[in-house]
């Protein structure tokens, strides 16, 4: 049965058919690449998500050196902070409510346990840190805000926040 089927199709498997198939596959691959590059361009019309930051250092009052053959000196490097260890909460980071066992996390108006509860954040909710840290009642507090709807916001205890990558 299988042999007969093979024999039937064998006459169609010729060099031009194989070459045509390969060309078709190459064409599809090219179209896919074109579509991918076009969609990237549309998502980020500026070209780069983060702008280039150029730091020009201040001039100093150092007196001019006596004439000497010019030497090339490396440009002063732009000052940069050492990267924070992964998982460290910082202003600008995205955090997720974690470890409340379903009870949710109270976002308070001040960085202490006696202040008003402004909002009850659900387990798994994602927030952005915009202020902090502050110390209060034995806890470290960060001011978090809902990145999509600015209204849920308040001071949250760091114990129940886990840093996540940009959502």
């Amino acid at each position: 049965m299988m042999e007969r089927l093979f024999e039937t199709f064998r006459k169609y498997i010729t060099l031009p058919v194989i070459a045509g198939g390969l060309l078709f596959a190459l064409g599809l691959f090219g179209v896919t690449l074109l579509l991918l590059s076009a969609s990237r361009g549309a998502a980020d019309p500026v070209g780069a998500s983060t702008p280039l930051i150029n730091i020009i250092p201040a001039s100093t009052a150092t007196p001019l050196a006596p004439m000497s053959p010019p030497t090339q000196t490396p440009l002063p490097a732009a000052p940069t902070l050492p990267p924070l260890p992964p998982g460290t909460i910082a202003v600008g980071a995205y955090v997720q409510v974690n470890g409340t066992e379903g009870d949710g996390l109270r976002l308070r108006t001040e960085a202490n346990l006696s202040s008003q509860v402004a909002f009850l954040a659900a387990e798994g909710d994602v927030y952005q840190v915009i202020d902090g840290p502050r110390q209060g009642d034995g806890y470290t507090w960060w001011y978090v805000i809902d990145p999509y709807d600015q209204s849920p916001q308040g001071w949250a205890v760091a114990t129940y926040l886990a840093v996540i990558q940009n959502p």
């Binding site: 500026v46 070209g47 702008p51 930051i53 150029n54 730091i55 600008g92 202020d131 001011y143 600015q150």
Partner: protein, 116 residues
């Protein structure tokens, strides 16, 4: 919303120059940026953080004090920058839209005054 394509911090001139994707250029003095710092501490509460500064701040002369000297400018995600000042203050996040809205050039000020 237009985004910056380049930010230049010129310590000698105490200026930050922002080049925007639409071709516009904004020039901010260090002291202006410190005066309009959008953090809760400077603005008097978290509910004030998104508000634009009053017109009087544009008329104030530049000042050279540690509080007005920029120590470090760093990107925050893909939506803004944070500035650390020489007095240690570093809470403000200057989002792109905020920076564009406070552009002190005559063209932008005229647009803002006419509600544009």
């Amino acid at each position: 919303m237009t985004k910056p394509t380049g930010i230049t911090v010129n310590r000698s001139r105490q200026e930050v120059i922002v080049q925007w994707g639409d071709g516009h250029t904004s020039l901010f003095t260090f002291s202006f940026l410190r005066r309009v710092c959008p953090c809760a501490e400077c603005r008097g509460g978290h509910d004030q953080m998104g508000l634009l500064p009053g017109a009087e701040v544009y008329a104030l002369p530049p000042e050279d004090t540690p509080a007005m000297r920029l120590r470090k400018l760093e990107p925050v995600g893909t939506y803004g920058v944070t500035i650390e000042w020489e007095d240690g203050h570093h809470y403000g996040i200057y989002q792109w839209q905020f920076l564009r809205d406070i552009c002190p050039c005559a063209e932008c000020r005229a647009q803002a005054e006419h509600g544009g």
